[in-house]
């Protein structure tokens, strides 16, 4: 195993790739918060694996330094899950946009939360499909008209309610416009033992002129400052997750510490990737066919 050497600095995460996001994109705030969180956790780039999907969020891991598996649209969760299972020493972070997580990857989303593997899932929710140039997504506000939905969006999913219903062991929401708060949430999520969902409200200045920085700023409030909120109360969390409109909660919405899938599978002791291949150890299995 490789051990940490010296103090990890922000510069260690400085990428060489040119960034292909629009000016003013909410992703920049998320990127800063992520780097800050990783440095504060003193994780070295080689200890981190980011598995991303497709969309503007899919490019995210290329803009810092770490191990990267840029997956297909909607599929980062299965690959991230398996990577963690074969090498639990990795800090695994999956990164998706709203389409990736809640649309194309919806089935993986539900079952990964249920399965509870120790990993973090960042979902950049800008309430619109930006890479494909402005169509409605599962979280687009009702009535929001796009070229493909000229009559306005017909449905609006509340993914965090789905997360609470799926007993996701850590459900949080951050805002790209509040980097300090978001960096803290990301740290909590990475430290959490279990599947941690961090949805980030991310303004898209190009294709979503409705849910802007200003729009979110006027509505978000921090749950950590609400004295009477208990994130371990599932019913309260469910109601909180359904809340949307004039008031939008950010912070830790739900937490339920429960056993890890990797412990159930028994793969945590000795990483599978480090185990030797020994054909001869299977000799006793042949005897069963005699």
């Amino acid at each position: 195993m490789v051990t940490a050497s010296g103090k990890v600095k922000i510069e260690d995460y400085a990428a060489t790739s040119a960034v292909a996001w629009c000016t003013g994109c909410g992703n920049f705030g998320i990127l800063r918060a992520m780097k800050k969180a990783l440095v504060e956790l003193q994780l070295e780039p080689h200890q981190v694996l980011m598995v991303s999907g497709i969309g503007q969020a899919g490019k995210f891991p290329h803009y810092l330094r770490c191990n990267v598996l840029n997956e297909l649209h909607g599929r980062p969760i299965p690959a991230a899950t398996a990577a963690k299972l074969v090498n639990p020493e990795l800090t695994v972070i999956a990164v998706s946009g709203d389409g990736d997580a809640y649309g194309e990857g919806g089935n993986h989303f539900v079952h990964a939360m249920n399965r509870n593997v120790d990993m973090t899932y960042m979902v950049h929710n800008n309430q619109v499909y930006a890479l494909t140039r402005g169509q409605a997504c599962p979280t687009t506000d009702l009535g929001f008209a796009t070229k493909m939905n000229p009559n306005g969006a017909w449905v609006s999913l509340r993914p965090l309610a789905l997360a609470v219903a799926s007993d996701c062991s850590f459900v949080a929401r951050g805002f790209a416009g509040d980097g300090e708060h978001l960096a803290k949430l990301i740290q909590m999520a990475i430290r959490h033992r279990g599947f941690a969902l961090v949805e980030v409200l991310q303004p898209c200045p190009t294709f979503n002129r409705r849910n802007t920085f200003q729009w979110y700023s006027q509505r978000v409030y921090k749950l950590d400052e609400a004295k009477d909120y208990d994130p371990e109360d599932r019913t309260a969390a469910f109601n909180k997750a359904l809340e949307w409109g004039d008031q939008i909660a950010i912070g830790l919405i739900y937490k339920h510490d429960r056993p890890l899938y990797e412990d159930y599978l028994g793969v945590t002791k000795d990483p599978l990737v480090r185990q030797k291949i020994d054909p001869l150890q299977f000799e006793p299995l042949l005897d069963e066919f005699k």
Partner: protein, 575 residues
């Protein structure tokens, strides 16, 4: 006199037909005979009609026979259904106290009071099938102790009472047959010297091979006929720390395999055609990210759900071409149970050596048939993980390029956290480091690199199995699990004075075009024999060699080819 007998056990689903055919087959194997057991069942848990054929011979057999010598009928329907399969000297064992059957063919029916003996001696009427097997063993003069030993092994998990009940029930059947029907048949399977044989199914051999080859991670969604692979490794893999993850769907399973393999573990998934449909997206991902991946595609008749518990070879073209973007991948199709073992071991090496998805095509027939095989010599298993970066090399690297452009096209593989080097790859077109690119020059170089990499594959192939005869009248060509039936058809023809060549492929891609052209350039009429309606191998052969088959012998009724079926079909064509 050569021994080659076929026994059939038939009844309703739930009457223990599969387990009893296995017990009987294993008993005969220990008596020194070669065994081939073929299962025929409906997609249901109870009722309907199921049967299993146990063929036993003193020579190597790899196919089911058309004729039945002795039938055990656990219900009346079995007698009617299998009347047409009975040899003229065939016998039927049934329980006349329980089954209503007419008085015709009285001589050919051996009445065994299965239910009465089961209750009296075993303590449970459910052991009727065991009484029948005991009677059969007595009738053919096999050794009762061999049967008792197999029964004890198979029923141990149900406790002593059930185990000894079954042994007593079998004994009662055995004694009854000895007492009442001694000399009733000339069919004898008296024990011979047993060899170092194993009795296993194609998918047991495949699953075992995957573990032997160092597969450390399996993900899958249950689907007939490959659930057996997932279940075998789920059960046996526990003591070897090989997890099987049951996923939410096949998309997840395939992407998990990519994730596990990217992270450095040998990984596999198994599915059937419908599940493979959902996996081809990830297959394309594995090609782009140059990730080793082993996928078992267990065919069953389609399209769509088709005949879930029956056999066909209609996914060859799908395996060759499935996935967007146009990319090559090795496609292997085992000839039989032993080949399933060795080809699977090789599949893992090929996947890592060429950093590519590899597809192993099986089918329901191969999946579920039991066949005797020589014990696998595990010392012969050599693991080749291809070009990798050692921990020491990795520690010295300043920048690791996962997709480094090399002469061979193969880039040395490292895995995340192996060293301090970062491992990056992308489903988008990427540069050598693994970052997204858009420029035409890099794109072209990367496509050529990936193609060049697979050029080496050709040298890693064994080539088809070819038997040419100087005075052959025609040539039989086939692929995958039909080998046993085709080989035996050639033997039957030869015994009939008709010479035939055989060319059989277990490696479909890269297609061994040179070897096929050499073998067929001067060969007489070529018949391509395959279990599908569209002649997929014939089309592939023509595309790759220009050789057009004289005719295709196709079968797509969901049942496996038998040697006699092939012989009859060919005789019709050449007469």
């Amino acid at each position: 006199m050569a021994v080659d007998l076929s026994f059939m056990i038939g009844g309703e689903a739930g009457q223990g037909i599969q387990s009893m055919s296995f017990v009987f087959g294993k008993t005969l194997m220990r008596g020194g005979y070669e065994i081939y057991i073929s299962q025929d069942f409906e997609s249901r848990i109870r009722g309907g009609h199921s049967s299993a054929s146990v063929r036993s011979a003193d020579k190597r057999i790899q196919a089911v026979s058309d004729k039945t010598d002795i039938l055990i009928a656990l219900d009346t329907e079995t007698i009617d259904i299998h009347k047409k399969d009975m040899d003229s000297a065939g016998l039927t064992i049934c329980d006349r106290e329980r089954l209503k059957i007419g008085s015709s063919n009285h001589d050919n029916i051996l009445d065994i009071p299965m239910e009465r003996l089961a209750v009296e001696k075993g303590g449970d009427r459910v052991m009727s099938n065991t009484v029948a097997i005991g009677a059969l063993v007595g009738l053919i003069e096999c050794d009762f102790d061999l049967l008792a030993a197999v029964l004890r092994e198979e029923f141990r998990r149900y406790g002593d009472k059930t185990t000894e009940g079954n042994v007593s029930a079998a004994r009662a059947g055995y004694d009854h047959a000895k007492q009442h029907y001694a000399g009733k048949t000339s069919h004898r399977l008296t024990p011979r010297t047993p060899g170092q044989k194993l009795l296993m199914t194609g998918h047991e051999a495949l699953a075992l091979a995957a573990m032997v080859a160092g597969c450390k991670f399996v993900a899958g969604y249950p689907m007939t006929p490959t659930t057996s692979i997932l279940e075998y490794i789920a059960e046996k893999g526990r003591q070897f720390n090989i997890p099987v993850v049951q996923t939410e769907d096949e998309i997840s399973a395939a992407n998990m395999v990519v994730g596990a393999a990217y992270a450095g573990a040998r990984a596999m998934t198994a599915t059937s055609g419908g599940g493979f449909c959902l996996m081809v997206e990830a297959l394309s991902l594995a090609a782009m990210t140059e990730t080793p991946m082993v996928v078992v595609l267990g065919q069953r008749p389609g399209p769509a759900i088709g005949l879930p518990t029956r056999t066909e070879q209609s996914d060859l073209e799908f395996a060759l071409y499935g996935g967007h973007g146009g990319f090559q991948r090795p496609v292997l199709a085992p000839r039989g149970v032993a080949d399933a073992f060795w080809l699977t071991v090789r599949a893992f090496d090929l996947a890592e050596k060429y950093q590519t998805p590899v597809i192993i095509i099986t089918d329901h027939d191969l999946a579920d048939c039991y066949n005797t095989v020589e014990r696998f010599d595990l010392k012969q298993v050599k693991i080749d993980r291809g070009l990798t970066i050692s921990d020491e090399e990795g520690a010295r690297l300043t920048t690791y390029k996962r997709h480094q452009i090399t002469e061979s096209g193969i880039s040395p593989r490292a895995f995340p956290m192996q060293t301090r080097s970062l491992v990056m790859t992308d489903s988008d077109e990427h540069d050598e480091e693994g970052h997204i690119i858009e420029d035409a020059e890099t794109r072209t170089r990367m496509v050529l690199k990936r193609q060049r990499k697979l050029d080496g594959l050709k040298d890693d192939m064994d080539g088809p199995k070819i038997t040419l005869k100087p005075d052959a009248e025609f040539t039989m060509v086939g692929w995958g699990s039909t080998y046993g039936a085709i080989r035996e058809a050639a033997e039957l023809l030869e015994a009939d004075g008709v010479r035939a060549n055989v060319l059989h492929l277990n490696e479909l891609w890269p297609f061994p075009a040179d070897a096929v052209m050499r073998a067929l350039s001067n060969a007489p009429k070529v018949f391509v024999i395959e279990s599908n309606a569209t002649g997929q191998l014939a089309r592939l052969m023509r595309a790759e060699t220009g050789i057009k088959a004289h005719k295709s012998i196709l079968k797509f009724d969901g049942r496996p080819f038998t040697p006699a079926y092939i012989v009859n079909a060919l005789k019709k064509e050449v007469s």
